[in-house]
């Protein structure tokens, strides 16, 4: 059995992060889930939230994902998302503006709620990283 988890965080058009990690924490539609070595095979739907990866060399990688999947098998973790952003790629001010805008629209549609969650996830990712 491998010493660490092999994690791949992939967006639709690129690999955002890939490497060895101790633990992955992600938010699925059922709630937060933490994946350690030896986890049972799992395929789960993610919500728009922050994914946290504790890397093998004691670092932490945070990313904001727009929905997607978490798949775990044989100590391989893949986080698939149409869009995944690392904190340094996130424009916090823009996310704040977006958050305010979405707050104003809340209740109007599911789309507004989604935007709200996305914006929140982005801001949280930046805060977590700093």
């Amino acid at each position: 059995m491998a010493e660490h988890l092999h994690v791949e965080l992939v967006a639709a058009d690129r690999t955002v992060w890939s490497g060895e990690a101790e633990m992955v924490i992600a938010r699925t539609t059922e709630g937060d889930v933490g994946v350690l070595r030896g986890h049972a095979p799992l395929l789960s739907v993610l919500t728009d939230a922050v994914v946290e990866i504790s890397t093998a060399d004691d670092g932490v990688v945070v990313a904001a994902v727009d929905g997607g999947f978490l798949s775990v098998a044989n100590d391989r973790v893949s986080v698939l998302s149409q869009r995944a952003l690392l904190p340094e790629e996130i424009d916090v001010d823009q996310a704040r503006v977006e958050l305010e805008e979405a707050r104003g629209l809340i209740g109007a549609s599911d789309e507004a709620e989604r935007r709200l969650r996305r914006a929140e996830a982005r801001i949280r990712a930046v805060e977590r990283a700093s």
Partner: protein
Amino acid sequence: MALSVREYRARIKSTESMKKITRAMELIAASRIIKAQQRAQSAAPYARELTRAVSAVATYSNVDHPLTREPENPQRVAMLIVTSDRGLAGAYSSSVLKEAERLAEKLRGEGKHIDTYLCGRKGEAYFRFRGRPVVRAWTGFSDQPSYEAALEVGTTLIDAFLDEEGEHAVDEVHVVYTRFRSMLLQEPTAVRLLPLEVVEGEERPASDEVLPLYEFEPSAEAVLDNLLPQYVQSRIFFAFLQAAASELAARQKAMKSATDNADELIKKYTRIANQARQAGITQEISEIVGGVNALADAQAGSE
């Protein structure tokens, strides 16, 4: 040889400037194609992981999803044709359109009605000129497709497929695009996108490495519900990326032969111009010699 030397010189000049333009376009296409290939490569992991996930679900649960269900009697089909936005790419757009015509012919032969969806200005112009109906056309991203564009196209097609009653409801979705085989070979291909067939491209797991028994959260159906649309979109994105690389390769090839032709033309014109110049000189000399002889004859006669 009717033209004067000056006129030939002007022609050579204009051919030279044309050659400069085609040469520049060739170089631009060559540099972009590398980028396009890189994009296709960086999109590969996502497609691979998605395919793995889909086949995992397909193996361990009964796949019965609207997107995989074969309609009993398909009447209407949607056809998405991926062409380029700009020309000067040789036969790129016309060969895709030809392939699309072939597919349309076949589908019509089966008694199906076709809804056409287009990508790229060239295809749009082709259909508009012939006055054929197009349900929707997207333009402006043919050589650098973004995932957002694929998302929009995919959503539209999936909605049309899932729609039962609406005006544009369809039972099948086909995509015609150009597959990038190599720098020299790009072939127009037609594939059926929906309903999804048994997952393709997944290598059989080796006998000792059986696909793990997944737990699905919240449930296999919910995972599938989320997975399949994204899978479809990723297939469309893949088609776009292939088409973009093919377009650039076709353009590079077309521009290379244009440059070569210009070279040849310049050589030919230079030769004709030199001949014309030589002829002019010869004529002048013979006129002078003739004049001198005539003068000499006249003087000899008077003495």
